[in-house]
């Protein structure tokens, strides 16, 4: 096996070649393993392989490592554009933070109560159950509008174990949210509310149930039920007495410190600005070719790219069957959020609650309690599908102006009291194209089991290849699995 060190020695012996500097003459760089994609899963697999003594190269297309972990350091509140929540059972993330000397702190993102603006009418959360705007039926009426989709999915979720979603026994749940709800006689009014923040047609109910099951696992772990289970939109975070971790934690200084520390540990084997265009395994080694003409060879390759962009990479021999379908057809969903300060408590003027949910353009405004070190409350405007895809069609300046004017139009008390700082939409990140994978109805049955099987010398990591975890932990779970597969072969 030729290591990087040997290669450098070899290069020193032929100075003439290097002084010519012509890329055409440059030999392909050799490593044991090339990891394509410098997000959490790719960096973690590289770290584990380096621990095992293998020579690893990480190729990241963009100039920033970290993928969907992205702390926006230049902005006043240092918002987390991407993943930030670390559950108390995220064993790999917790252990990795300890290894990298990163401190976990309880998340402080306490959501203030939420009114709704539906069909051009305001209603407080404490008046919703009896409101004439509430056209749901029976027990449904108790669900807050913003939580209808999530709570119904929990209600119909039959999964017990973390890997049950892959068990053919539950194949019948791999249908659209709409079909699941109609099958269970959910009222048209409840389905309509569920469709405001969920893709009724394009998301597999079974895929979302996997996440619910992981959430339950986290809430119940250690024989202590720490939370009401179903609170998707922020909640009063809790730290149990005697426990070192809260229910939800963040990384001190921002979550980007984690991929940065991993990259620092890996040193010059992490290269940015290296967009891969082809992975060719026709020969006796894998050759990875970048759009800038550089070439790398290795015994094994890990794709830690989302399938949304792996589909732009030519892979030889060609992917076949369910795996090809997975790479080329799996769905991705966007999340878009804007961040800012609340200059004055506008809710004192209009009597509605600080946060709101709406069936209009805005989707949700989360008013967040001020942190101990701040003198103002913060806010986030949160868009999930389909609202995220709508707002993502505008350039940033226009999107922010639209948000500000639309919020002021429906809720005049906010006028001049919201100071927007920045926004970010993950579908507009062309290196990723979404904040997460989202199985379409039928796709779990069609390819979820087969999609992670190694193809020739190519192994697959990334949150979309998870088997039992969620969020940042699922990225590490997948990176660990891919590294383990390669160590078993090497």
């Amino acid at each position: 096996m030729v290591t990087r060190r040997n290669l450098i020695k070899g290069a020193a012996a032929v100075p003439l070649l290097s002084t010519l500097g012509a890329p055409l003459l440059k030999a392909a760089e050799r490593s044991s393993v090339i990891v394509v994609g410098g997000g959490l899963s790719g960096l973690y697999s590289a770290l584990l392989l380096a621990d095992a003594g293998l020579d690893v190269t990480v190729l990241e297309a963009s100039q920033r490592i970290g993928g969907r972990v992205y702390t926006r350091d230049g902005v006043e509140t240092r918002p987390e554009f991407g993943a930030s929540q670390i559950g108390r059972t995220y064993a790999r993330v917790i252990n990795l933070c300890s290894r990298l000397d990163l401190k976990l702190i309880p998340e402080h993102r306490n959501l203030m109560p939420m009114s709704s603006y539906l069909e051009q009418n305001w209603v407080r959360s404490d008046q919703w159950a009896d409101s004439p705007l509430n056209r749901m039926v029976g027990d449904e009426r108790k669900m807050q509008p913003a939580l209808v989709g999530s709570q119904l999915l929990s209600k119909f979720n039959p999964l017990q174990n973390l890997d049950d979603w892959l068990n053919p026994k539950f194949a019948d749940y791999d249908v659209s949210i709409l079909e699941l709800m109609q099958r269970n006689n959910v009222s048209p009014a409840a389905i309509r509310l569920a469709g405001i923040g969920n893709d009724l047609y394009g998301s597999s109910a079974l895929g979302l149930m996997q996440e619910k099951t992981r959430g339950l696992f986290d809430a119940r772990f250690g024989n202590q039920e720490v939370e009401e289970i179903d609170r998707p939109y922020g909640f009063a975070n809790r730290k149990l007495e005697g426990e070192s971790l809260a229910r939800i934690n963040n990384i001190e200084g921002g979550c980007s410190r984690m991929p940065e520390a991993m990259a620092a540990a890996l040193g010059d084997s992490v290269q940015t600005g290296k967009m891969v265009r082809a992975i060719d395994m026709s020969g006796d080694r894998a050759e990875v070719r970048c759009v800038d003409g550089s070439r790398y060879t290795a015994d094994f390759v890990i794709s830690a790219l989302p399938f949304s962009v792996l589909r732009n990479v030519s892979i030889y021999p060609l992917l076949q069957g369910p795996q090809a379908d997975a790479v080329h057809k799996i769905g991705y969903a966007g999340t878009t959020r804007a961040f800012g300060f609340i200059e004055e408590p506008y809710w004192e003027q209009d009597g509605f609650e600080p946060s709101f949910f709406t069936d209009g353009t805005i989707h949700m405004l989360w008013a967040l309690e001020k942190r101990p070190d701040e003198d103002k409350h913060r806010f986030m405007v949160v868009f999930t599908e389909p609202a995220a895809s709508r707002i993502d069609q505008f350039p940033k300046d226009q999107a922010l102006a639209l948000m500000e004017s639309e919020i002021a139009r429906i809720r005049p008390s906010t006028k001049g009291k919201l100071r927007f700082l920045d926004m970010y939409g993950w579908s507009n990140n062309t290196f990723i194209r979404g904040c997460r994978h989202m199985f379409k109805p039928g796709q779990i049955n069609a390819f979820a089991r087969e999609m992670i099987v190694p193809h020739e010398r190519l192994h697959f990591a990334g949150e979309h290849t998870r088997r039992s975890d969620f969020g940042m932990e699922s990225a590490l779970e997948s990176g660990e699995r891919a590294a383990f597969e390669i160590i078993g072969r090497a």
Binding site: L48, D51, A52, T89, A91, R92, I94, N95, L96, Q160, N161, L162, D163, F217, R220, F221, G222, N223, Q224, R467, S468, D469, L476, E477, E480, R481, A483, F484, I487, G488
Partner: protein, 133 residues
């Protein structure tokens, strides 16, 4: 304890001899140092949740020092799931093999988040390593 379990499962007195023969082949494989060295590499799957010594505090899961032969759910300072506390066996080769293959099959309702190791050879190597701890 194992004898009782085997009887309960397979229902025959004559199977006692079979189970002991199985244990003997496990013991041979488990004491192979080369296999244990391989297993140490595979331990990357376990290390986030389990410390290998009893001095550095608990991680998400219990420490694994002396796990081979330890009765199930035996550590006082770890909060095991109710499902695991109800069990009555010791961690021998067979139990560890079944556990590592898929924890939920051995103990439904367990709270170990682990996808399982499909390869029997890899499980053997892991168990050989666990026996050295």
């Amino acid at each position: 304890m194992r004898i009782r379990t085997m009887r309960g499962k397979l229902g025959g007195v004559g199977l006692l001899a079979l189970s002991l023969a199985g244990a003997a082949s496990w013991a041979q494989a488990e004491d192979d140092p080369a296999l244990a060295a391989k297993g140490k590499q595979f331990f990357m799957l376990c290390q986030s949740c389990h410390a290998i010594d009893d001095s550095s505090g608990m991680r998400i899961g219990p420490h694994l020092k002396g796990v081979y032969g330890r009765p199930v759910a035996a550590l006082d300072d770890f909060s095991y799931s109710a499902a695991l506390r109800e069990q009555d066996f010791a961690w021998d080769g067979e139990k560890l093999d079944a556990w590592l293959k898929r924890p939920y099959d051995l103990v439904p309702g367990s709270s170990m988040s682990f996808a399982g190791v499909a390869s029997e050879d890899m499980r053997k190597a892991l168990i050989a390593y666990l026996k050295t701890l």
